[in-house]
C-alpha cells in the first residue's frame, strides 16, 4: 500500500522550504497564515496611507478619482479577507489543537489546502494590478455596478475569482475546525471546559460554513452574468432586481463581521483571567452570548439596506433585531469588566491590548447601536460616520484583540518573549494614533463628508480635521513599525519563555514552547476549566515520552498545494479565456487535469510515507484522520 502513490512520492522531510510547502502540521500552517496576513496588513495599510495622503488636503491631486476607488476597494477587501480572517485562522490553527489536547486538526491535509487556496486567491486578486487595474467597485462589489456594462475592465473578474478561491479555502477550514473541536477533544475536555477562544473558534466555524455559501452563489451568479451573459443582475434589459446582490451579499456580510470579531473576543476572554488572576466571570454566559450573537447575526442583514426603501415593516423588524443583538454583546462587555473587578491586575502588554480592545470596541459598538435607529442611519449612511464606526469595531476591535493575542501567545509560538518595554510603547502609540485617525471621522461624518470621495474643496471646512486624521494614520504606521522591530529582535534575542510564562491556566501552556510537532507527549486528561490552576503541581514538567517513542504524525504531502494550484489556475484560465479563447481553454483543461490528478493522488495517498511503512499498514491507528 505504501509503495505506489503515483508520480509524487509522499515526502518525509520537514526541513527547508519544501518542508513548509508540504507541511500538514497545524502549528506551521498557523504560522504561514499569520505571516501572510501580516504581509497583507502592510499592503492594505499602505493603501490606507495613500488614501490619507490624498485626503489630507482639499483639492489634492496626489491620486485621481479612479485610483482612489481602486485604493479603497483593495484596502477594504484586503483588510477583511486577507488580514483579519487569516489572522484569525492563524490563531485557530496554532492554538485550537493545543487547547483541546489534540495532536493536530481532524483533516491535516485539508487544512494545508485551505491555506494554499487563501494564498493563491489573494495573489490572483492582487495580480489584477499587473494585468488590468485594481478592482474599483468597493469591498462589497454591488451589482449591477459590477456587471459588464458598468465595469469595462477585467479588474472585477479578478475580484470575483480571487474572492471565490479564497472563499473555498475558508469554507474548508470552517469544516475542519467544526470537526476538530467536536471530535478531537482530550478525555475529560467537555464542551463546557473548553477555553473561550476554542468556543469562539467553533462558533466562527459554524458561521463560516453557513454564511459563505450565499456569497459563493452570489459571486457565481455574477460570474455567469459577466462571462456567459445570464441575467441575474441585468436590471435594464431583463428586469432584474437591483437589490438582489445587496440581499445575498449582506446575508453573508453581517455574519462575516462576527467572523471578524468573535476570534478577538475569544482571545480577550482568555487573556483577562490570566492577568487578573481569577477565572472569567460568568463563563457560561459568555459562551452563550457568543452563540446568541452568531444566531441573531443571520437575521439582521438588512440594516445595511435601510436607505434602499424596503418598506416600513421590514425596516422596523431589522432595526429591532439589530438592537437586540446589542444585548448579548453588552453582556460580554460586562462579563469582561467583572472579570477585571477585584482581580490582582498585572499590566503586561497583552492585558493592555485587551483593555484597548474592550474600550475601543465598545465605542464602535455604541455607534453601531446608533445606526440601528433607522432615522439616524438615514443621515449617517455613506458618510464618514460609518467609516468611523467600522474602524472602531474592525481596528479597535479585531486588530487590537489580535495584537493582544500576538503578545500573549508569541512566547508559545517561538519560545521567546517579546519585549515588554517596546510592547507598551507600541500599545500607547497605536492607541493614540488610532483615536487621532478615527475619532474625528465621527465629526466629519456628521458634518456631511461622504464616504468614498476622493477629494473635497476648501470651502467645505473639512480640511483641518482631515489633516489631523491623516497624521493619526501615520502615527498608527509608526506603531506597526515598533511591532515589527519587536518581533524581529525577539525571535532571535528575546528572553527564553519557558512553558508557561504568564502562569496561565489552559492546556497549551502545559507543553514546551515552541511545542514539539506532536504537541503532547502524552494526551492529558482534563478535570476542570482551568487545568493548570487547579492542579498546578502536576503542570510543572511535561511528562516524558512514553517508552514506544514519539507519537506518529501524518507525513507531509504535496497534494494540497497541487490541488490549490489547479483550482486557482482554472480561474486564471477563465481570465485568459476572455482575451484568447483557445489559450484560455487550454489553460483550463491543463489546470483542471492537475487539480483532478491532485485529488486522486490525495485520496490514495497513505497516511505516512514509506519510512513509516509499518505504520502505514495500520492507517486506522493514525493519530489524526486523514482527508
Amino acid at each position: 500500500m505504501a509503495a505506489n502513490i503515483g508520480i509524487l512520492r509522499r515526502p518525509v522531510s520537514t526541513a527547508g522550504v519544501w518542508g513548509w510547502i508540504t507541511t500538514v502540521d497545524h502549528k506551521r500552517i498557523g504560522i504561514l497564515y499569520g505571516v501572510t496576513a501580516f504581509v497583507f496588513f502592510l499592503i492594505g495599510g499602505i493603501e490606507a496611507l495613500l488614501m490619507r495622503v490624498q485626503l489630507a488636503q482639499p483639492d489634492s491631486e496626489f491620486v485621481d478619482a479612479g485610483t482612489f476607488n481602486a485604493l479603497f476597494t483593495m484596502h477594504g477587501t484586503t483588510m477583511v479577507f486577507m488580514v483579519v480572517m487569516p489572522a484569525g485562522a492563524a490563531f485557530f490553527n496554532f492554538l485550537v489543537p493545543l487547547m483541546i489536547g489534540a495532536r493536530d486538526v481532524a483533516f491535516p491535509r485539508l487544512n494545508a489546502l485551505s491555506y494554499w487556496l487563501f494564498l493563491f486567491g489573494a495573489i490572483l486578486m492582487n495580480f489584477s494590478f499587473f494585468k488590468a487595474a485594481f478592482p474599483d467597485v468597493g469591498w462589497f462589489g454591488y451589482a449591477p455596478l459590477t456587471t459588464t456594462p458598468y465595469t469595462l475592465s477585467s479588474s472585477t473578474d479578478y475580484w470575483v475569482l480571487g474572492l471565490q478561491v479564497m472563499g473555498i479555502g475558508t469554507t474548508a477550514a470552517g469544516f475542519n475546525f467544526v470537526i476538530t473541536i467536536l471530535n478531537l477533544r482530550a478525555p475529560g475536555m467537555t464542551l463546557m471546559r473548553m477555553p473561550l477562544f476554542t468556543w469562539m473558534t467553533l462558533i466562527v466555524s459554524f458561521l463560516i460554513i453557513f454564511a459563505f455559501p450565499p456569497l459563493t452563489i452570489a459571486l457565481t451568479l455574477l460570474l455567469f452574468d459577466r462571462f456567459f451573459g445570464t441575467n441575474f443582475f441585468d436590471t435594464v434589459g431583463a428586469g432584474a432586481d437591483p437589490l438582489l446582490w445587496q440581499h445575498l451579499f449582506w446575508i453573508f456580510g453581517h455574519p462575516e463581521v462576527y467572523i471578524l470579531i468573535l476570534p478577538a473576543m475569544g482571545i480577550v476572554s482568555d487573556i483577562l483571567p490570566t492577568f487578573s488572576r481569577k477565572p472569567l466571570f460568568g463563563y457560561t454566559t459568555v459562551v452563550f452570548a457568543g452563540a446568541v450573537i452568531a444566531f441573531l447575526g443571520f437575521g439582521v442583514w438588512a440594516h445595511h439596506m435601510f436607505t434602499t426603501g424596503l418598506g416600513a415593516w421590514a425596516t422596523a423588524a431589522f432595526a429591532g433585531a439589530t438592537m437586540a443583538i446589542g444585548v448579548p454583546t453588552g453582556v460580554k462587555i460586562f462579563n469582561w469588566l467583572a472579570t477585571l473587578w477585584g482581580g490582582s491586575l498585572q499590566f503586561k502588554t497583552p492585558l493592555l491590548f485587551a483593555l484597548g480592545f474592550i474600550s475601543m470596541f465598545m465605542l464602535g459598538g455604541l455607534s453601531g447601536v446608533m445606526h440601528a435607529a433607522v432615522p439616524v442611519d438615514t443621515q449617517q449612511q455613506d458618510t464618514y460616520f460609518i467609516v468611523a464606526h467600522f474602524h472602531y469595531v474592525l481596528f479597535g476591535g479585531s486588530i487590537f484583540g489580535l495584537t493582544a493575542g500576538i503578545y500573549y501567545w508569541f512566547p508559545k509560538m517561538t519560545g521567546r518573549m517579546l519585549s515588554e518595554r517596546l510592547g507598551k510603547v507600541h500599545f500607547w502609540v497605536m492607541l493614540i494614533g488610532f483615536n487621532m485617525a478615527f475619532m474625528p471621522m465621527h465629526v466629519l461624518g456628521v458634518l456631511g463628508m461622504p464616504r468614498r470621495i476622493y477629494t473635497y474643496s476648501a470651502d467645505q471646512n473639512w480640511a483641518g480635521l482631515n489633516l489631523f486624521v491623516s497624521v493619526g494614520a501615520f502615527v498608527i504606521a509608526v506603531s506597526i513599525l515598533l511591532l515589527i522591530i519587536n518581533v524581529l529582535r525577539s525571535v532571535r534575542k528575546g528572553e527564553k519563555a519557558g512553558m508557561n510564562p504568564w502562569a496561565a491556566s489552559t492546556l497549551e501552556w502545559a507543553i514546551p514552547s515552541p511545542p514539539p510537532h506532536y504537541n503532547f507527549a502524552v494526551i492529558p486528561t482534563v478535570r476542570s476549566l482551568h487545568p493548570l490552576w487547579d492542579e498546578e503541581a502536576n503542570a510543572v514538567e511535561p511528562p516524558p515520552l512514553p517508552a514506544h517513542g514519539e507519537p506518529h504524525m501524518p507525513s507531509p504531502s504535496y497534494w494540497p498545494i497541487v490541488v490549490a494550484f489547479g483550482v486557482t489556475m482554472v480561474c486564471g484560465g477563465l481570465l485568459i479565456w476572455q482575451a484568447s479563447t483557445w489559450l484560455g481553454l487550454a489553460v483550463i483543461a491543463v489546470s483542471g487535469f492537475i487539480g483532478m490528478r491532485g485529488v486522486y493522488g490525495w485520496v490514495f495517498e497513505p497516511v505516512a510515507a514509506e519510512e513509516h511503512a509499518e505504520h502505514a499498514e495500520h492507517p486506522e491507528r493514525a493519530p489524526a484522520h486523514h482527508a
Binding site: 481532524a106 467536536l182 455567469f224 431583463a238 494526551i523 484522520h625
Partner: protein
C-alpha cells in the same frame, strides 16, 4: 491535571467518525447553497420580461425522472445494507443501479434542457431561464459527482479497497446521495408543481378574461 499513557488516539469525542461528521457539516452548508439558488429563483418568479416561463415545465416527464431518482435512493439503501452484511455482489449490483438511475435522471435533464433551448429558453433568455437553469444545473452537477462516486466505489471494491470493514465509506456516499435526492424533491415541489400550477392558473385567468371580454362585445 493528570497524564495518562497509552491513550487510544483513534477515539473521537462524539463517538462519530470524523469523515461522517464532515459529511453532515458539508450537507448543512450545502443547504445554504441550494437555499440561495432556490430563493433567488422564487424571488424572480413571474418577473421575466419576455420569453417562455413556468408554463413550459413538463410535470408528467419530470414526475417520471423524479421517480427514477427516488428509486435510486432505495437502491442506495440496499447497497449499504448489502455491504454491511458482507454481501459484495449485492453491494456492487445495487451501487451500479444507483449510478444507472442517476444517469437516467441526468439524461432526462439533458433532454429537458435541450427541449427548452428548442422552445427558445436558454440561460440568457430571461430571468426565468437564468435562475431555473443555473439552479437545476447545479443540482445536476451534484448528481453527476454522485454518479462518479458510485462508480469509484464499485471499482475500489474490486481492488479490495471497499469491503465490509469500511462500509462507512458507502454510508457517507449514501448520505450525500440521499441529500441530493431530497433537494430534488424540494425543487420538484417548489419549482415544478407550484410553478406550473401558478402558470396554469394564470393561463386560465387569461382565458376567462378573454371570454369575459368576448361576452361583453
Amino acid at each position: 491535571m493528570q497524564y495518562v499513557t497509552g491513550i487510544d488516539d483513534h477515539r473521537t469525542s462524539t463517538g462519530l467518525d470524523n469523515r461522517k461528521l464532515l459529511m453532515w457539516a458539508f450537507l448543512g452548508s450545502d443547504v445554504m447553497f441550494f437555499g440561495t439558488l432556490i430563493g433567488t429563483h422564487l424571488i424572480y418568479r413571474n418577473r421575466s420580461l419576455s420569453g417562455p416561463q413556468e408554463e413550459i415545465l413538463s410535470i408528467p416527464i419530470t414526475t417520471v425522472s423524479t421517480f427514477v431518482l427516488l428509486m435510486s435512493s432505495l437502491a442506495m439503501v440496499l447497497a449499504l445494507a448489502a455491504i454491511q452484511r458482507g454481501n459484495m455482489g449485492g453491494f456492487r449490483f445495487w451501487t451500479v443501479v444507483v449510478a444507472v438511475f442517476g444517469s437516467i435522471f441526468i439524461g432526462f435533464q439533458m433532454f429537458e434542457f435541450a427541449e427548452f433551448a428548442h422552445l427558445g429558453l436558454t440561460p440568457r433568455t430571461n430571468l426565468f431561464g437564468s435562475t431555473f437553469l443555473v439552479m437545476t444545473g447545479f443540482h445536476g452537477a451534484h448528481v453527476t459527482v454522485g454518479i462518479l462516486w458510485m462508480w469509484s466505489l464499485v471499482f475500489a471494491s474490486f481492488k479490495g479497497k471497499i469491503h465490509q470493514g469500511n462500509a462507512l465509506q458507502v454510508e457517507i456516499a449514501g448520505l450525500y446521495w440521499h441529500f441530493v435526492d431530497i433537494v430534488w424533491i424540494v425543487i420538484f415541489g417548489v419549482v415544478y408543481l407550484i410553478g406550473a400550477y401558478g402558470a396554469e392558473n394564470r393561463a386560465l385567468e387569461s382565458v376567462e378574461h378573454a371570454a369575459r371580454a368576448a361576452s361583453l362585445i
